[in-house]
């Protein structure tokens, strides 16, 4: 709202930003972070399907799931849905 901000004649229309949404690091919204117990994890990948932010990836080389902490908001859906309770939400 400061006078340094561009006026309506100069701004690109519709608020479009030529930055992909992956550039917005939403990980810092998090209070609890998910941690997987690889011993318990059966690699069913339900957590990957349920994650609303696409922040759980399958690492085929490590044969394990991986959290993208830059984007995970710590909602805890993965921990809730894990059928073998292999994901724990740990306070940051």
């Amino acid at each position: 709202m400061t006078s340094q901000n561009k006026g309506w004649k100069e701004l690109p229309i519709a608020g479009v930003c030529w930055i992909p949404s992956t550039e917005y690091k939403t990980g810092d919204w998090r209070t609890f972070k998910p941690v997987v117990d690889t011993e318990k994890c059966t690699l069913c990948l339900l957590c990957h399907l349920y994650c609303p932010d696409g922040a759980i990836k399958w690492n085929s080389q490590a044969r394990a799931i991986e959290f993208d902490y830059d984007h995970c908001k710590g909602c805890g859906i993965c921990a809730e849905e894990c059928p073998v309770e292999a994901i724990e939400m740990v306070r940051e």
Partner: protein
């Protein structure tokens, strides 16, 4: 340019719209059926099935999804179309604003139908009037021919790089949608040439690069991002700027289309019927204008100086054209086919009076709410309005500024 060769087809209003969409080289159509719009979608799905178009036809689970599908396809640069009415349009309400806010030039046919409750499938304008603030261009057709012509024109208007606003073409439920009419249609290639392919403007990004205004993997962008008190207001101002440019473009596209079709609807924004020396004028939009023209002819045959001003666009509201057309009129009746409960008269009445206030014209302006839920508006009721106007011209006083007509007491 010479007027191109045209075929005469027997089409109802819905079929006329579907035919126009078929010829307009549309990439994506997503729609959900609702009476009285259903025939548009049914007919178009036949074109898809029969391979007459290569449009991607998306069957969706609701109107909310239909418009979302069109909006997102349009964001990638596609030409898109949908159609709805009444409750369906109301369910789109949220996405109407998202579409105009994202500057996605989606085209929609609205087959004006009353809103529930009580449930009613027939014509009034409540459904589109309530969306007048949503940032869409609104064109109201008087007959099926105009619905056909306006649909084709709408693509050109909305996609204009300095407009980029979505547009609705309105046609009255049943009076137009389900009534067979002789409709002259242009050849496919004539329409193709007229609408062309959608041009994507280059815009300056925050890094001062010129990039196409669309979702593009080569230039990743975020559309519809969070936009708070520091920028939102500026983006709304841009929408008003585009709407301000719209009257000129509507007229220009209307003129270009007239050259190939031979058909004109006033100046594209308003149509003045015997207004040159009119002492009393009615103002309306949609199919009622057809009946009113017949009444004006009868009055003129009896030497009465009656005229009709038909609004073709309601958004943008053609304020200057209206003020000019009403300059020498002594009494005005505005006919509203919808009502704003608790307000002082219907929505068109509000804005007409407002325009006249600015132009220092203080002739009596009265309002008639008519035809809700498809109630007929026959010639004798329109004669009644002109009779009232004659009395107002004589006495220079309007006893009842707002009244209902065609209603049982």
């Amino acid at each position: 340019m010479a007027i191109s060769e045209q075929k005469m087809l027997a089409l109802n209003g819905d079929e006329a719209v579907a035919y126009a969409v078929k010829q307009s080289d549309v990439d994506v159509v997503a729609a959900y059926p609702i009476t009285p719009q259903t025939i548009i979608v049914e007919k178009f799905s036949e074109y898809v099935h029969d391979g007459e178009v290569d449009t991607e036809f998306v069957c969706v689970e609701s109107e909310h999804s239909a418009l979302t599908a069109c909006l997102t396809a349009a964001a990638t640069g596609a030409r898109t179309f949908t159609a709805s009415a009444s409750a369906g349009l109301a369910l789109m309400h949220e996405i109407l604003y998202v579409t105009s806010g994202c500057r996605a030039p989606v085209i929609m046919a609205v087959t004006n139908r009353a809103l529930s409750a009580p449930i009613n499938i027939h014509c009034d304008h409540a459904d589109s009037m309530v969306e007048r603030d949503a940032g869409w261009i609104q064109i109201y057709a008087e007959n099926s021919q105009e619905a056909y012509d306006s649909t084709i024109q709408a693509f050109r208007i909305a996609e204009q790089p300095d407009i980029l606003l979505p547009a609705m073409v309105m046609l009255d439920a049943f009076f137009l949608t389900h009534t067979l009419e002789n409709v002259k249609v242009l050849a496919d290639e004539t329409v193709h040439k007229f609408v062309g392919t959608r041009k994507i403007p280059l815009v300056k990004s925050h890094e001062h690069k010129m990039v196409p205004f669309r979702l593009d993997p080569e230039n990743p962008a975020t559309m519809g991002p969070l936009d708070l008190y520091d920028y939102y207001f500026e983006h709304k101002r841009q929408q008003e700027e585009a709407m301000g440019r719209a009257p000129k473009i509507v007229k220009q596209v209307h003129d270009e289309y007239a050259e190939i079709s031979g058909r004109r609807y006033g100046n594209g924004l308003i149509e003045s019927y015997h207004m040159e020396d009119a002492k009393m004028a009615t103002i309306c939009l949609g199919s009622t204008a057809g009946t009113t023209k017949t009444v004006v002819d009868q009055l003129r045959a009896n030497g009465k100086k009656a005229g009709l001003l038909r609004l073709r666009t309601y958004r943008p509201f053609p304020k200057q054209d209206i003020a000019n057309a009403l300059e020498n009129v002594e009494a005005i009746a505005v006919m509203d086919r919808s009502h704003s409960f608790g307000a002082y008269g219907g929505p068109i009445f509000h804005e007409i009076r407002h325009v006249l206030y600015d132009s220092q014209q203080h002739h009596p302006v009265v309002n008639y709410i008519y035809g809700l839920g498809g109630r007929d508006m026959p010639q004798h009721l329109i004669h009644q309005i002109y009779k009232d106007l004659q009395e107002i011209v004589r006495t220079k006083r309007a006893e009842k500024p707002v009244q209902f007509i065609g209603l049982r007491e």
